[in-house]
């Protein structure tokens, strides 16, 4: 029995501590410290730090604390839906005729809805829904946290490289890279993807590309969209996002006895535009080390709206890999279709180019909860700030020495402003009563 009591006592204390603001503050301070450590400029741990068990643990404790605190908060509101403010005396009045319409008008003009209205007492409130603001806000945070945990456990993301006309099958080996959540689901081949076309928009500052893609599921096209930065293709918890964009440049090296064709993939950073695409090509199959820069329009004049893909060219710098000093053999522009001599009886030809695109495929099991959480949080914040709950109570107490008038008010926030307002109402009422008595 004693052990049972002790256990109940310990559990109760533990629960009380878990649902305490003190713990919430400790976790918040710990989170701030961890965030500052994780993002310090001298040794930036990057995302790896924020995926560590320590950080996940702190988030988990925060979530538990949030759930308990919010429950406690909501319970308190349910348990005590109407507040009866403590009364303070305004003064004595001689005529006891109850509250006139003018008194009610004074409170209504101050924005109060009257709930109790009888000759002895008037009670009113405003912004009562605002009491729910903190609860709703914290509820939104809980939803976001649960969504984040679902993402951590069940998510999948993979990079897909595509050229126009290519069909991609959702198999592990077809992804350029992939990242599983904690629970690895091998349910592959969920869809096929077709890149119909890379649509390029030529603007003053470079090329912007979008990819016209279809998602095929069970042999049927279930979605088709032009995917661009800011315009991903969403299919429930699946999402296809544009990542890198670039060009494959087809180059041919021709010698007396050899003809070596090869493609070089040149890309721009993530989703941004670019005027040029460059890379260093150093492949053992090709006897030269090359620095290649693809220029979609060699005649473009930036900022003068003359950017058109009519005159592409590559800037080639060819180095002899066999020579010790890597002697530069060629460094010049080569236009499309042009053949240039880089050595005795050795030529390089720029044959053509075609665009390519990489997409991010993501499975996000927590996405709906996170979106809902954002909305709920926002709703809570609006309630929290726009509706400050205020209660007012006026009471007439009749005794042997006559009637005495009392006033009381209660608010959850901004006590000083409310007291100031209450004093104003009090003086208005005093004036009203003295006028009525006269």
């Amino acid at each position: 029995m004693q052990i049972k009591d002790k256990l109940i006592f310990t559990v109760t204390r533990l629960l009380r501590y878990i649902s305490s603001i003190k713990l919430a503050l400790i976790i918040l301070v710990t989170t701030v410290v961890l965030l500052t450590v994780g993002v310090n400029p001298w040794y930036n741990f990057n995302a790896a730090f924020f995926r560590s068990w320590l950080f996940t643990l702190v988030l988990a404790v925060l979530l538990i604390n949030l759930v308990f605190c919010t429950y406690k908060q909501a319970k308190r509101i349910f348990a005590k839906p109407v507040v009866k403010p403590v009364l303070r005396e305004i003064g004595a009045i001689t005529s006891d005729t109850g509250f006139s319409q003018a008194v009610r008008g004074c409170l209504v003009n101050a924005g109060f809805h009257l709930t109790v209205d009888n000759p002895q007492e008037i009670m009113g409130y405003k912004g009562r829904v605002g009491v729910w603001g903190p609860v709703i806000f914290h509820l939104g945070l809980i939803l976001i946290c649960i969504g984040i945990f679902l993402q951590i456990v069940f998510s999948f993301s993979g990079r897909i490289g595509l050229v126009p006309g290519q069909v991609f099958t959702d198999l592990q080996q077809n992804y350029l890279s992939s990242d599983y959540g904690l629970w690895r689901n091998n349910g592959e081949s969920r869809f096929k993807l077709v890149l119909h076309e890379v649509k390029s928009k030529f603007k003053d500052d470079g090329i912007y590309a979008t990819g016209d893609i279809s998602v095929i599921k069970g042999g049927e096209e279930v979605a088709r969209q032009d995917v661009n930065a800011g315009n991903p293709l969403g299919l429930g918890i699946w999402g296809f996002y544009k990542d890198e964009f670039g060009y494959y440049v087809k180059i041919r090296i021709i010698t007396e006895d050899k003809d070596i064709p090869f493609d070089v993939g040149l890309s721009t950073f993530r989703h941004e535009n670019s005027e040029t695409y460059r890379d260093i090509f150093d492949n053992p199959d090709v006897p030269y080390k090359m620095s290649i820069e693809f220029i979609p329009d060699i005649d473009s004049v930036r900022g003068k709206k003359s950017y058109k893909p009519n005159h592409p060219a590559v800037r080639l710098m060819v180095q002899n890999r066999a020579a010790q000093n890597g002697k530069v053999m060629f460094n010049d522009l080569v236009r499309i279709g042009q053949t240039a001599a880089i050595d005795k009886n050795t030529y390089v030809k720029f044959e053509g180019y075609f665009p390519w695109l990489t997409l991010f495929f993501k499975i996000e099991p927590g996405i709906y909860l996170i979106n809902l959480g954002f909305g709920v949080c926002l709703g809570g914040l609006v309630l929290l700030n726009l509706l400050v709950p205020q209660y007012i109570r006026i009471k007439l107490v009749t005794g042997a020495e006559g009637s005495r008038l009392f006033i009381g008010g209660w608010t959850s926030r901004y006590q000083n402003s409310f007291q100031h307002r209450l004093t104003q109402i009090k003086s208005d009422l005093s004036q009203l009563f003295s006028e009525e008595e006269n």
Binding site: I21, A24, L25, L28, V29, T31, V32, L35, T36, G38, V39, P41, N44, N46, A47, F49, F50, S157, K201, D204, D205, Y208, N228, A229, G230, N231, P232, G239, Y241, D243, R270, H271, E272, N273, F360, K362, I370, F374, C377, L378, L381, L384, N385, R413, Y414, Q415, N416, S417, H420
Partner: protein, 276 residues
């Protein structure tokens, strides 16, 4: 030519703001109410060329002031000052607040002019309402938290027992009301930072496929938001008021300033190409 117009207008604004600062400081130190009034009028006068410079930049660049350090600093200063002037219009009894707001404004516009840069085109991924919301709320967050912090500074000055403290006590409302007003502005700033973070996350999700990538700007925004969250909890649940609350507000605002303006200097990150 365009550079000349913008920088010229900015310098006119800086001149007005500098004079306004001098008058605010003079009025504050020598307890001259008239000087404070003239300080405010000069600040309003300075806002005219400042607004013109911003609008001109907007017109020639074809986008709002959200690319590069120059545009970010000058628009933040503009928002902060405008909010101060609107606050003054509603509560003229808080005029001494200018002694905190104006030096910051001069410094910020001055820094903007010295980091003047040519127009940078807005990438395609920036052309979304979420990003515009993100940026506007960042500016509103700065403005509201600036006033909340200025009130906290004034509160601390009122607590002084010297002549300045008593002069301020005579001219400003009750210290408890200043303290509460600082709390209200800070609480509102908390909402603004929250919306700024949420809008930025939604934009990042659409553009990069991820709500959150632990970019230093994201992380520091979260740190600022949590700090303001701690402040609100301490205030509501642990009864923190007065000096302690004022000092905390000032500390949290310093972190917010670093988030909005300092990260581009210290870190290389996803936001760097647009804020440097």
């Amino acid at each position: 030519m365009s550079t000349l117009v913008e920088v010229g207008l900015d310098w006119i604004a800086v001149t007005f703001y500098a004079l306004s600062t001098c008058l605010f400081v003079y009025g504050f130190v020598f307890k001259k109410q008239r000087a404070l009034k003239w300080g405010l009028l000069l600040a309003i006068a300075g806002l005219i060329p400042h607004s013109a410079a911003l609008l001109y930049r907007w017109y020639i660049s074809g986008h709002g002031p959200w690319m590069r350090r120059y545009e970010v600093y000058t628009s933040l200063a503009w928002t902060g000052l405008l909010m101060f002037i609107v606050f003054q219009w509603r509560r003229p009894d808080f005029r001494p607040l200018g002694v905190v707001i104006m030096p910051g404004t001069v410094l910020l516009v001055g820094l903007a002019v010295f980091s003047f840069s040519q127009i940078q085109d807005v990438p395609e991924s920036f052309k979304t309402y979420w990003l515009i919301l993100h940026i506007y709320f960042a500016k509103l967050a700065y403005g509201t938290c600036l006033i909340g912090t200025a009130l906290a500074v004034i509160y601390l000055m009122i607590q002084r027992t010297n002549g300045l403290g008593s002069w301020l006590r005579q001219r400003l409302p009750d210290p408890d009301r200043i303290d509460e007003l600082s709390y209200r502005f800070t609480a509102f700033g908390f909402v603004m930072i929250g919306v700024m973070i949420a809008a930025g996350a939604i934009w990042a999700k659409n553009a990069w496929g991820s709500y959150w990538s632990w970019d230093p700007v994201e992380t520091w925004s979260l740190i600022s938001w949590i700090l303001y969250g701690i402040y609100l909890h301490l205030r509501r649940m642990h009864g923190w008021k007065g000096t302690k609350a004022a000092l905390f507000t000032i500390g949290a605002f310093s972190v917010l300033i670093f988030t909005l303006m300092g990260i581009g200097i210290v870190y290389v990150n996803n936001h760097s190409p647009y804020v440097n």
